[in-house]
Amino acid sequence: MPPLPDLVAGSILVSLIIYALLGGADFGSGVWDLLSRGPRAALQRLLIAHAIGPVWESNHIWLIIAVVVLFSGFPQAFAVLSTALFVPVTLMLAGIVMRGAAFAFHSYRLHDEGGRSRWGTIFAAASLLTPVLLGTIAGAISSGKIRAQEAIAVGASLTWLAPFPLSVGLLTLAVFSHLAAVYLIFETTDPDLREDFRLRALWASVAVAALLILTPILAHAGASDFYGALLGSGWSVGLVFLTASAALGAQVALLLRAFPLARICAAAQAASILAGWGLAQYPFLVRPDLTVVSTASPPATLRLILYSLAAGAVLLFPALFILLRVFKREALFGHPRDPNTV
């Protein structure tokens, strides 16, 4: 069995991957709300609201799980990150608050007003900004520019305002939007709406592909150690192959309207990008000073974190399954839509 710190760090990565696949798509849906155009704009927004309404809060909690495991398992790393990345983390929190609260207010009034309210606009704009910040933070963590001693002594750093972290931010935005567009195809039986989101998914997949080429190029100058690990490790060929074939697979499947395959490929692409980020970070949590081992809590704490994660999974996955089963039956399990429900 791998050592305890690695298992706990791995569980953070898994939480982040699930967060990207579920919560990330909710943010991406907000982006498509912002970009809703054409004769079916109102219908698109309504579809988005119905798709994310029942699930966004529980999807959001994967991020909280990741943070809580980070600060219990690797408190030093959490302290350094919070200090050095004070500015983007604060901005991301503002985005999270505005997205969540505005969506709740927006959907509260949706049934009697419909269309776009002021809250809807705030929800959509915050959905665009938050993923960029989330990705920028991830990029800054990898850049090798955050020095632990300096952060504790001096405070906030501006290392995140550099081409590489910002390109990771844009990549995150593109990946979330791509996931959302692909998922939204399954939320409706209206052929026109499906076509709208198919086209959006194709555009987003082009953006993802472009950024998948641009980001490593920027990493070469802006995050050289990370670049070396990402493309010079034993697993690098496999990762690049997996990501590229998932990206290509998603595009081909969208072109052929093979939507279930497109969904699998889109999710695989997002997961492999994040997994690659995690693998290239290892054994560091914050390059270049803080490693998984050097910042880990005592074994007693790590063991309890893993036990509680396991217990939580046993209790919550059935509940989560019920939630998805009730609200995403058509989308996930392919049953015909009940004409009496919206």
């Binding site: 909690i61 809580v68 600060f71 302290a79 207010f105 974190i305 939580g312």
Partner: protein, 446 residues
């Protein structure tokens, strides 16, 4: 203001905001589940409408609570990185468990809110029960972390670093049970009375409306029961503080000198310069009796502690007095309500009692805010009592005035917006008129 004060003020603002929604998240699901249970038992549509309305309110409040809670979990590190670097490995466990309780709450709230007619009625009710349990459990677990800051256990201090860390012992710290029970009762009292006040207000205009009659009865039953139990829980808390946090107790009570047979002070203003509490009504030996259940017991005064280890007595004393005053009023009104309703519920709907309930509506929330001020300010100057000073925990980041101003404005806007949405909801109250003893409108429509 110094950066430290800005950090403290910002954290206080985040907590003061979040706790209102956290309390709603703990209390409201209980109300809606009782209403839905009554609907399943009686089949009356008025209860179904009530459960739906309360659920709609809960949805908005829960969403704001979820995002403001997310902010707090990050702000622990943003504002207090050295506190988190020290204690993350010790007290992270209840936070992790809280994450799952909150997860359960969110999942089942999704099923509850969007599942009307989609899941079988009993399963729907059980989802509501899971929401209520998840809400209470997450509150209780978060309080475990705060209780640990008051009574830190589960580690040994070696060269300023924690060793021999035992997260279970830290979670099961001695302050937890009393604090958790106090907070849970406070949440039920606050939510119950806040809701009861709204429906009492509507009943004053429309006394025969069955919707508001049932709503008031349920809300006042929950809020009243909690309010009557709360003084008992408060007694446990005060006695715990007397033994384990004597400086906090001294500040709460405005007790400067260490003495036997200390008096209980009602009102009064602690004067730090003269080290005395002026203008208070003193009940001889009252404090010794309450704090130790012995009229001659010795109570430690603030003078027993070095000046730089004393909490600020004026705000702690005033907040404590205010909390007790609110709590006592709620308990008294609850007992009157129980007396009025001893034969039948009709007694609850007398205009004078309704007006009293309206007046009491904000007191539970205000008591919660005051109580948090007592426990947080009363722990100062420590962030972890006796282990780490608040000033040593703060972030080195400067310019905190900017995020403070931004989040204050944002939260103000959110609070106003949430209140405005809920106000609309209250304004469009449904009409379930009551016939002459015959429930005309009930049972017919579904």
């Amino acid at each position: 203001m110094t950066e430290l004060l800005l950090a403290r003020a910002q954290m206080a603002m985040f907590f003061a905001f979040h706790i209102v929604f956290a309390v709603a998240g703990m209390g409201m699901p209980v109300l809606m589940v009782i209403a839905e249970g009554a609907h399943l038992r009686t089949g009356k549509p008025v209860f179904l409408e009530l459960a739906r309305r309360w659920a709609r309110g809960t949805a908005v409040l829960f969403a704001v609570g979820a995002v403001s809670g997310t902010v707090l979990s990050f702000e622990l590190g943003l504002l207090w990185p050295r506190f988190m670097a020290f204690s993350g490995g010790i007290i992270g466990l209840p936070f992790a468990l809280e994450g799952f309780a909150f997860f359960a709450e969110a999942i089942f709230l999704g099923i509850y809110l969007y599942g009307w007619g989609r899941v079988p009625p009993l399963a729907h009710l059980l989802s509501g029960v899971a929401v209520a349990l998840g809400g209470v459990l997450s509150g209780v677990l978060v309080v475990a972390a705060n209780a640990w800051m008051n009574s830190p256990t589960g580690f040994l201090l070696l060269d300023g670093k924690p060793t021999a860390v035992d997260p279970i012992a830290a979670m099961l710290n001695p302050a937890w049970p009393t604090e958790a029970i106090h907070m849970t009762l406070a949440a039920f009292a606050a939510a119950g009375f806040a809701v009861a006040g709204i429906h009492a207000y509507k009943l004053l205009r429309d006394r025969e409306n069955l919707f508001h009659r049932h709503a008031l009865a349920i809300a006042i039953a929950v809020g009243g029961a909690a309010s009557v139990l709360q003084p008992v829980s408060g007694d446990f808390n005060a006695r715990f503080a007397a033994r384990n946090q004597p400086a906090k107790l001294a500040a709460m009570e405005g007790q400067w000198r260490t003495e036997r047979g200390a008096p209980l002070r009602i009102g009064g203003l602690p004067d730090a310069a003269r080290e005395t509490t002026r203008f208070a009504i003193e009940i001889p030996r009252g404090l010794s009796l309450l704090a130790f259940h012995d009229p001659d017991a010795e109570v430690k005064g603030l003078q027993a502690f070095p000046r730089d280890e004393r909490p600020p007595p004026a705000p702690v004393h005033l907040a404590f007095q205010f909390m007790v005053a609110c709590g006592t009023t709620l308990a008294a009104v609850s007992l009157v309500g129980a007396w009025l309703a001893r034969k039948d519920r009709e007694g609850l709907y007398r205009p004078r009692f309704l007006r009293a309930v309206v007046a009491c509506s904000p007191l539970g929330i205000l008591a919660v805010e005051a109580g948090w001020a007592v426990t947080e300010l009363g722990r100062q100057p420590w962030v972890i009592r006796g282990v780490m000073r608040t000033s040593d925990a703060a972030t080195p980041v400067s310019g905190l005035a900017l995020p403070f101003a931004f989040f204050s404005a944002l939260y103000l806007a959110l609070g106003v917006a949430a209140a405005w949405l809920l106000r609309r909801e209250v304004a469009q109250s449904p009409s379930f008129p009551r016939g002459d003893g015959i429930l005309r409108n009930e049972g017919g429509q579904e």
